[in-house]
């Protein structure tokens, strides 16, 4: 380049950027901003990019950001504690367990992407899911395309697990929407002696499904609901629906809905002086009593798999103390929001560990189908936190659910805490023969009752 041309270039540069430089610069800036803004950094610098030599990697996809962060934290903690406890006893097949947890923010496309990443890039031997049934449903296709074992520690939609695939790679240690409905109806009719059940649900996918499950459960025992009512997320006033239910003389409302709407519902009940028994799926296991006030929340019964409030069994107490210490929580059982997830995840990891042991190999991807078979056939006995699993799973798709309805825990809101019904004054209102039947399948409740 001649001296003249060089000078010209320098001058034009000091006058401003050339168009090419500007475009390159903008692309760079926008790319960086886009990367940071979309949280792409974690994809480029993942925390555990390189497999630590000699660990067994278990994946998890759950909501760690977004409006339901507490659900993701709940299952993540349960899984991590289970791994810590197992590792302190030497791990599985001589190797330590390692959780690889990815965020899906409760969104199906993220969940699908996470499945592929956990299986192929992170080289996990299996994975756990999260709270959102929509995500679980979306995962069915990639899970079976890859042949990658999956256990749900929370999302309860029936068709996630009863999915028609053969071989079925999806399992669940949690409740099943279909069985929750059966449990609630059975408890209402046989436990509480209610005569006139009505159904009230939120009109979302989950609520709609729950409504249908409740109606089927009632039809199965030959009764019809007095009425079927619905409300929207964000509704503040349910007096229209409740006035209709009151006119139908419904003495018990069974339903699927969440804390805020549940709270507004009981407030609306107070307004019209109508206090039927409430029996709900686990949607009102968060801050229901805080929102409604202890008085209005009192006596609402909730189907759970586990609760961290009330008197705990020794293992539950040990896990509580460990979690409070490890995650620096307040010593208040209400910190365990959506606490069923923690217990479910704890048992799920232990069951998975037994399956890995039985499969005898952790070489990815050959181990996947062996672990799947082991889950289905070889976890014959495990004394877990929630119940005793004997066996955990069976071959038919309905029994890819480990926890049976007779092991579901009935809890009740009492004095602002969600405690097992066996520890609450409301236990006296349960029919004696139902009490006997219930205690037969809840040995922990028996133990705690004996101790106190």
């Amino acid at each position: 380049m001649t001296k003249e041309k060089k000078n010209k270039r320098m001058i034009s540069s000091t006058n401003g950027l050339t168009r090419r430089e500007f475009l390159k610069g903008s692309a760079g800036v926008m790319g960086t901003v886009g990367l940071i803004g979309t949280g792409g950094i974690p994809f480029i610098f993942p925390k555990k990019a390189l497999a630590q030599a000699g660990t067994i990697r278990i994946g998890m996809s759950c909501a760690l950001t977004g409006p339901h962060t507490h659900t993701g934290l709940s299952v993540k903690r349960g899984a991590e504690v289970a791994c810590d406890f197992l590792n302190s006893k030497g791990g599985v097949l001589g190797k330590k367990l390692e959780m690889v947890v990815l965020d899906d923010a409760g969104l199906p496309p993220n969940g699908v992407a996470n499945v592929r990443r956990l299986a192929t890039r992170e080289k996990c031997v299996a994975m756990l899911g999260g709270y959102h049934s929509t995500v679980g449903l979306a995962m069915r296709a990639p899970i079976h395309e890859l042949g990658f074992p999956y256990i749900s520690p929370y999302c309860a939609n029936t068709t996630i697990i009863e999915n028609g695939y053969k071989p079925n790679f999806m399992f669940r240690v949690s409740a099943k929407d279909k069985w929750i409905a059966q449990f609630l109806v059975d408890f209402a009719i046989n436990g509480m002696g209610k005569k006139n059940l009505a159904v009230i649900c939120e009109n979302t996918g989950w609520g709609e499904g729950g409504k249908n499950d409740l109606i089927s459960a009632m039809n199965k025992i030959g009764i019809k609901p007095a009425s079927i009512e619905q409300f929207n997320w964000g509704d503040k006033d349910m007096t229209p629906q409740l006035m209709r239910l009151r006119d139908q003389k419904a003495d018990c409302l069974v339903g699927y809905y969440l804390d805020p709407e549940g709270a507004q519902m009981v407030k609306s009940m107070a307004k019209i002086n109508y206090r039927p028994q409430i029996l709900s799926a686990w949607g009102i296991s968060g801050n229901f009593a805080e929102l409604a006030g202890n008085d209005l929340a009192e006596g609402a019964m909730v189907s759970m798999t586990y609760t961290w409030c009330g008197k705990l069994d020794p293992l539950g107490q040990r896990i509580t103390d460990y979690i409070i210490k490890k995650y620096s929580l307040k010593n208040d059982c209400r910190e365990f929001r959506t606490g069923s997830g923690t217990a479910n995840a704890y048992d799920a990891i232990n069951i998975l560990a037994l399956a890995i042991q039985a499969a005898g190999t952790v070489e990815v991807p050959e181990c996947w189908s062996k672990i799947r078979d082991a889950l289905e056939k070889k976890v014959t006995h495990y004394e877990g936190l929630i119940t005793t699993y004997a066996p955990a799973f069976m071959e038919n798709e309905e029994r890819h659910d480990a926890i049976l309805p007779e092991n579901y825990l009935m809890t009740v809101w009492h004095d602002g805490f969600l405690i097992p019904i066996t520890q609450a004054p409301q236990w006296k209102t349960v029919a004696p023969d139902y009490q006997e039947k219930y205690l037969k399948t809840h040995h922990r409740a028996r133990e705690i009752m004996k101790r106190t």
């Binding site: 006033d237 229209p240 006035m243 507004q264 107070a270 801050n287 929102l291």
Partner: protein
């Protein structure tokens, strides 16, 4: 009959909240021919600040209310300065988008600081319902329309009987002429924004005990308040107040006699219908102002 009373009573309570929000829109539009699309989020501010001051920090109600009025006024003034004034008269899209953006920003700040969950605001007036003609209503729900009407009457008196109010009316009538008469137009517009925002804040404060406080509660309230302002006629304060009450009551009747799903559909369908028949709103007159 009990049902009718029930829907009327709850409808009037919610309707007065819409009226307060809509009246804010009117006041802002009158002086500046702009509005704050984050008006609904100002309701949210009143609600969550109410919980923060009176529940978390244990302040007495009057103190909480007073501080909220001050904070919301400051917010209104700041918003007008940053999101409205640069675009006023130059780009309508500018202030529309800016105020929407500010709404999104404060909503997200609220989610991060206040949390994503609904929180209760227990006051003595939502402890026990009282019964009128067989219908149950919380005393707070009766207090809300009383306070709302009191505010509206107060504002009308202020406009008609005080010098400052006259200056505001002058700016609303003809901004340029008022400026020529020596009225500080920018000050009047700032004041109207402060007034509108603090009214929304008060609305949030008094309705939160009934409907719970949350970071995203302002969205629908703001939208409905705007719809009410449009139906009533954004140039007619009395029209919007009436429209607000009517809208609140209509919502309850539709939810009661049809379904809650039909509630939003019916209400907004009616908005479109009314605008088709009467674009300036039911009570709105010709647009004066600039």
């Amino acid at each position: 009959m009990t049902e009718v009373i029930q829907y009327l009573l709850s409808g009037i309570a919610m309707g007065s909240i819409y009226s307060l929000v809509a009246l804010g829109f009117c006041i802002m539009w009158a002086t500046s021919e702009t509005v704050n699309f984050a008006q609904g989020d100002s309701v949210m501010l009143g609600a969550i600040l109410g919980v923060t001051f009176c529940v978390d920090m244990g302040w007495p109600i009057w103190l909480g209310m007073a501080v909220i009025i001050i904070l919301c006024s400051l917010f209104g003034i700041g918003l007008e300065r940053v999101a409205i004034r640069p675009f006023r008269g130059i780009s309508d899209i500018g202030w529309m988008l800016s105020t929407i953006a500010i709404g999104i920003i404060i909503r997200n700040i609220a989610m991060v600081t206040f949390g994503r969950y609904d929180r209760p605001f227990p006051t003595a007036l939502v402890k026990q319902p009282i019964y009128i003609g067989g219908a149950g209503v919380y005393p707070q729900e009766i207090l809300i329309p009383i306070i709302a009407l009191g505010l509206m009457v107060g504002i009308e008196v202020f406009h008609k009987k005080t010098k400052f109010g006259s200056a505001l009316r002058a700016v609303a009538y003809n901004r340029d002429a008022a400026g020529l008469m020596g009225i500080n137009v920018n000050l009047m517009i700032s004041f109207s924004y402060a007034l509108a925002t603090s009214m929304a804040g008060i609305a949030g404060f008094i309705v939160a005990p009934v409907i719970l406080a949350s970071a995203y509660m302002g969205l629908l309230v703001g939208l409905k308040g705007f719809a009410v302002a449009i139906i009533g006629g954004i140039t007619s304060p009395r029209g919007t107040i009436l429209a607000g009450f009517a809208y609140g009551v209509l919502e309850k009747f539709v939810a009661g006699y049809f379904s809650t799903a039909a509630r939003e559909i019916t209400a907004f369908f009616l908005v479109i219908l009314i605008l088709l028949v009467s674009p300036q709103g039911i009570f709105g007159g010709k647009n004066r102002g600039a």
